[in-house]
């Protein structure tokens, strides 16, 4: 299941919902990405997430489907927020559920590594030294490449 939303999400609520759907789950692994108050020596007061409506949903659904097939996941969830966010707020949630923990850890890692380079979102930071678009990082491409 994938969701794109402006409002916050709650990890406990999402985990409970995932577990309520099945009782053959032995392992759940979650990743939460949050807004930092600084980047490369600059302060960040706000992070704004932009996306490509239509393509974003497809991209996240494809990433999730790949993860489910590749790691034999029992269930999964990707939630990504859009719009203006403040330091400390959550941006993204990925949950992978499986029979055993290897698949759950790998599935969660695969989904976040892949969505960072393959899902059409763009971040803009603003702080005391002005506004700037976040640049794509070589480390993210490297993380994505490890799964190919």
């Amino acid at each position: 299941m994938i969701r794109i939303q402006t409002g916050p999400f709650d990890l406990g609520t999402e985990l409970a919902a995932l577990k309520a759907s099945r009782t053959d789950i032995g392992a759940l692994v979650s990743f939460t990405g949050a807004v930092r108050d600084h980047t490369a020596g600059r302060d960040v007061a706000q992070l704004t997430l932009e996306h490509y409506p239509g393509m974003t949903e497809k991209a996240l659904a494809d990433i999730e489907a790949d993860a489910i097939k590749r790691f034999d996941l029992t269930a999964s969830l990707i939630v990504h927020r859009i719009g203006p966010l403040r330091p400390g707020e959550d941006i993204v949630l990925v949950i992978a559920a499986a029979a055993h923990r290897d698949a759950a850890f790998d599935g969660a890692r695969f989904m976040i590594d892949t969505l960072k380079t393959d899902a059409p979102f763009w971040k803009k930071e603003s702080g005391s030294s002005g506004e700037d678009w976040v640049a794509a990082r070589a480390e993210d491409d490297a993380a994505r490449a490890r799964w190919r």
């Binding site: 932009e50 490509y52 239509g54 393509m55 960072k116 899902a119 059409p120 763009w122 678009w133 794509a136």
Partner: protein
Amino acid sequence: MIKVLYFARLREDIGTDEEDLPLPKSGMTIAELKADLRARGEGYAQAFEKGRMVQVAINQARASVDDIITDGDEVAFFPPFTGG
């Protein structure tokens, strides 16, 4: 007609997030469309400046500069993704 979408820094450079354009010629590639757009004005030239990483999607699927555009297509130009 084709619908052209611009995201993030490209949208700011060009000053619009979307426009409908007549397809200049049939069998046109993305590379040829970029060259056409670059010549439309300063904002476009800045957005598509050589050396800037600009990626493209046709009908919401990632595409490359050699891909051909068909009438009715939705073409989107954007910087590399930075989500997550």
